[in-house]
């Protein structure tokens, strides 16, 4: 199974930045969602960030909230999410990070969750509502299951805390580019270059940037700032929403957009 380490070191050799698209598993339905992810892989995704829908996603803006609702309405659940991940891994061995909310992990049973999802092909689980202060609830079980850890850093995280976060991170640091929830934005936040620079001074752990990256130019700026990866969520989830009645067009749009980003980084 391909690891984050392998991907980041390969890309470093090519002087490239990882392209990391985000989708909600099962959005808008299982089969289309599989096709979307395969399209993203073909368009050059290096790592996948996949969300498991939750009823109360407090870190997400309207675009991803609606994707969660579409996925849940079409019957997404954890059993199907496992099947989904296996299908993607059968298509290509690409690292997969989950991004989700704690209650789903907690109800499934933390150890069992990590074991089952690791077996299906997941490399890491980022729990959006679990901060580093309570990381011990998952770090042990994640390590025993063979998973890497991914935690968030934001523009208001203090340097001491960045160090603590880096020390518990084995996968990559998910750097939130702005103050706010997920959602596409017209302009890139002005804080991001400084933030990436700061993190790079403090740690060797790979740094990926997400939230609000909506244009190839945004991605290029982030890459130039020294980030190891660019995470693009709401922008492409929005392409799903905008093209719900024409699946082929939906796939084409996603492919084109990711292709543009790929060549920008």
């Amino acid at each position: 199974m391909k690891t984050y380490k392998q991907v980041f070191s390969e890309l470093k050799g090519q002087n490239r930045t990882a392209l990391i698209p985000f989708f909600v598993i099962g959005d808008p339905d299982f089969d289309t969602s599989v096709r979307i992810v395969k399209t993203a892989i073909d368009a050059g995704a290096d790592i996948l960030e996949l969300g498991i829908p939750f009823s109360d996603p407090i870190a997400d803006g309207p675009t991803i909230q609606k994707a969660d609702i579409r996925a849940m309405k079409s019957g997404m659940n954890l059993g199907k999410a496992l099947e989904f991940i296996r299908k993607v891994k059968d298509y290509k061995d690409i690292p997969i990070g989950l991004l989700m909310y704690y209650n789903l992990v907690y109800q499934y049973g933390i150890e069992k969750f990590f074991n089952d999802f690791h077996k299906a092909g997941v490399n890491s689980v980022l729990v959006a509502d679990l901060s580093i202060d309570d990381a011990d609830e998952i770090v042990g079980p994640a390590a025993s299951a063979g998973l890497d850890t991914v935690f968030m850093v934001t523009p208001v995280t203090k340097p001491e805390r960045m160090k603590l976060i880096a020390s518990k991170t084995t996968g990559f640091i998910y750097t939130v580019s702005l103050l706010g929830v997920t959602g596409s934005r017209e302009n890139l936040s002005g804080t991001i270059e400084g933030l990436v620079g700061k993190l790079k001074e403090l740690t060797n752990v790979p740094v990926c940037v997400g939230f609000g990256i909506s244009k190839p130019e945004h991605a290029a700026t982030v890459a130039q700032a020294g980030a190891d990866g660019v995470i693009i969520g709401s922008k492409i989830v929005g392409l799903i929403e905008d093209n719900l009645n024409d699946r082929e067009k939906m796939l084409a749009k996603i492919s084109t957009f990711l292709g543009e980003v790929k060549s920008a980084i």
Binding site: I58, D60, L78, Y108, D133, F151
Partner: protein, 392 residues
């Protein structure tokens, strides 16, 4: 964070990383000011002269005759704004002022907390935004209008079932983007640390007064203290005064909605399972995988699938008992108090009264129950009219 904010294993601060610094700042400010002489003096003057504390303890004689034991009402309904919520909004609002914050946001279900926040926004000249589910805006329209009159902006929340849970989701999202200048004035003793501790602190006046009033007016402590439980602030406020009096039973009444068996209710402690929502590990109404259930209650203030962490602990230790009253029982109790005493209780508080009615014939006549009449029912008149038309 300096403290863990745990009640047993419950509580904590399960929030996205971006909210940690602002919760830390709040925790630090609370512990800096809550015993500060000037802060305490200012709050106590406002509590007295603005809010109308202390609230009376009233012997409801005709209601008591109906249920067959002695019922005393802790009259939080008489406070400015019409509910206990002002205790908390004055305390937190003043804290915001001491912290130099100029903008307030809050969630609201019944609109009582929203109104109490809007009042404080006006009082301190702070820009105020209230997040409220669209269903609640419809069913509590009187309060919506009052908030706007106080100068607050009311933001309708469409997500989920358009109720309190969804209002909290959007308030948290908004806060995430405005952490640097905005104070989130949380409305109940739930959510992430330090809110359960802060809100409880500002509501303990209810219990302190009630205990002293019992000793002065009755010459003894009551046999039971009863309060409705939404997030749990009015209940923890009055329970806290009696928690060390082991012979006083503490009873929290949740919203039984249509009925427990229908699944259409909001009786979190009675029927829920432990999980994580809105920053805390608490009992939740949820499905097998952990998706949060839609709730239902005639009372917007109790229509919430989570609950405060301290109540979870009190349930597990058995120090407090939690029961549910259905919509119809609450509506009956509303009618009974109104007819027998000329007091309109909030539909939230009517759940606590409904429990007393259910005990008719089970307690002897000398037993004393103190019930927290957490709010007045003016806001609910149109709902009651719909559910229980008077006819001509």
């Amino acid at each position: 964070m300096k403290y863990k904010g745990r009640f047993g294993d419950y509580g904590g601060f399960y929030v996205p990383e971006v909210l940690i610094p602002v919760l830390e700042e709040l925790e630090e400010a609370f512990y800096r000011f809550y015993k500060d002489q000037q802060y305490v003096a200012e709050l106590s003057q406002l509590s007295r002269e603005y809010a109308g504390r202390p609230s009376p303890l009233y012997y409801a004689k005709r209601f008591s005759e109906h249920v067959g034991f002695k019922v005393y009402l802790k009259r939080e309904d008489l406070l400015h704004g019409g509910a206990h919520k002002v205790n908390n909004t004055l305390g937190q609002g003043l804290l915001a002022k001491y912290m130099g914050k100029t903008k307030l946001i809050a969630e609201t279900g019944a609109g009582q907390h929203g109104l109490a926040t809007a009042m404080i926004g006006a009082l301190f000249g702070m820009e105020t935004k209230i997040f409220m589910g669209v269903i609640d805006i419809e069913r509590q329209s009187v309060n919506v209008h009052k908030m706007k009159l106080c100068g607050a902006e009311v933001i309708g929340v469409e997500g989920g079932t358009g109720t309190l849970k969804d209002a909290i989701n959007d308030a948290l999202r908004y806060w995430t983007a405005h952490v640097t200048d905005t104070f989130y004035l949380f409305g109940s003793a739930c959510g992430p640390h330090p809110y359960p501790t802060i809100v409880k602190h500002f509501q303990t006046c209810i219990g302190k007064e009630a205990r002293q009033q019992c000793l002065e007016q009755l010459g003894r402590l009551p046999d039971m203290v009863v309060a409705c439980v939404g997030g749990g602030s009015n209940a923890i406020g009055i329970f806290s005064g009696f928690i060390d009096d082991k012979d006083v039973r503490l009873i929290g009444v949740e919203a039984g909605g249509r009925s427990l068996s229908s699944g259409r209710h909001a009786a979190t402690l009675v029927a829920g399972r432990v999980g994580i929502l809105h920053g805390a590990k608490v009992y939740l109404l949820q499905d097998e995988e952990g998706q949060i259930h839609d709730t239902e209650s005639v009372s917007a203030g109790l229509d919430y699938p989570a609950v405060g962490p301290e109540h979870c602990l009190l349930k597990d230790t058995g120090r407090a008992e939690y029961v549910a009253a259905e919509d119809d029982e609450a509506l009956d109790a509303f009618g009974l108090l109104t007819k027998s005493e000329g007091i309109l209780p909030a539909l939230e508080s009517s759940h606590a009264l409904a429990y007393l009615v259910s005990q008719k014939g089970k307690l002897d006549s000398e037993q004393i129950a103190v019930v927290n009449l957490s709010g007045r029912g003016d806001k609910d008149v149109s709902i009651v009219e719909k559910r229980r038309p008077l006819g001509n």
